[in-house]
């Protein structure tokens, strides 16, 4: 553990100083393994938040009945040590030199690997248009809220539970009409990355196919409800 940054009340970014780590690709994840004194081990996957070339960072949301995330969000301190395995993934990755427009669709902490792609685009000076459709429960739950505005990526928020007073953006779950408003037209042949809960990912991917997207354009990563 090198340093810690609070993102929202339930989410922290941990910058790691990992021995023997090789550089990663945007979209990849790593596994954290914690070992208790009695030898009991718990292992969870976390998306890598940093762009390639930046100090390695993961962003972790605290799940109340989780075995690993409460430790990583509330307990861990600079200088603590734990095992990581990775980088992992050769499918849900964006290299930065693909010419197609890129549509990123995030549900909650599913924004983490997608933000790594947006950061890489900014660092590499890539010219492919990139648009992020980001569904959160409330404005307070939006991870990287300020930073996302600085990356040169179009960001469209939708807030599904508690939009703030005066909110004039989307305030509902992602549906076909919202996708039609926000997504690139199918004629542009975009690359799509969808990350969130299984239900979120299936709804977004199915909706995009109904818009005329080829399923092969859509890369998905689902995460589970244990942490």
């Amino acid at each position: 553990m090198a340093s810690i940054r609070a993102e929202t009340p339930r989410v922290r970014t941990l910058v790691l100083d990992a021995d023997g780590w090789s550089d990663h690709r945007a979209g990849q994840h790593l596994d954290v393994r914690l070992t208790a004194e009695d030898g009991y081990q718990a292992e969870r996957s976390y998306s890598i938040a940093s762009a390639p070339g930046e100090p390695l960072a993961i962003t972790v949301e605290r799940l109340e009945d989780g075995e690993v995330s409460p430790y990583l969000v509330d307990e861990v301190r600079d200088g603590d040590r734990f095992e990581v395995r990775g980088p992992i993934g050769g499918y849900f990755v964006w290299n930065g030199d693909e010419p197609e427009p890129v549509l990123l669709v995030a549900g909650g902490s599913g924004v983490v690997p997608l933000a790594a792609m947006a950061r890489q685009r900014a660092r590499a000076g890539a010219t492919a248009p990139m648009r992020l459709l980001y569904s959160s429960r409330s404005w307070e739950d939006v991870i990287y809220r300020d930073e996302l505005e600085t990356l040169g990526v179009e960001v469209v928020h939708t807030l599904t539970r508690e939009p703030p007073p005066g909110w004039d953006g989307y305030a509902r779950r992602i549906d076909d009409e919202l996708l039609r408003d926000v997504a690139f037209p199918a004629s542009e042949g975009p690359r799509v990355y969808v990350c969130g809960s299984t239900r979120f990912v299936d709804a977004a991917a199915d909706g995009l196919v109904r818009l005329g997207y080829d399923p092969l354009w859509i890369r998905t990563e689902r995460f589970g409800a244990t942490g």
Binding site: L30, E43, R85, G89, G90, T198, T226
Partner: protein, 84 residues
């Protein structure tokens, strides 16, 4: 217990440790129906005794992995081919 369906991304780390190669982008062919999908696109169940990877099309078991304290047992009968 609610069964959690994830996808093959979730077993990338386990397979990397067991086989020493990145496999989430590797196309796998289902022995049951012949469908060919990248591992990341297969359904993964983590709450079984062990890990079960199923075909997204016919739901046949393609890979089952059970880890014990001393060794790991891997059943690949449901995978007819794996391209690296």
């Amino acid at each position: 217990m609610e069964t959690r369906v994830l996808d093959g991304n979730a077993v990338g780390g386990l397979l990397l440790e067991l086989f020493g190669v990145e496999l989430t982008a590797a196309p796998c062919v289902c022995s049951g129906c012949g469908a060919r999908e990248q591992l990341a696109c297969l359904d993964v169940y983590l709450d079984c005794p062990g890990v079960v990877v199923r075909c997204r099309h016919c739901s046949d078991v393609m890979i089952a992995i059970v880890r014990g304290p001393e060794r790991t047992w891997i059943d690949l009968r449901g995978t007819r081919g794996l391209e690296l």
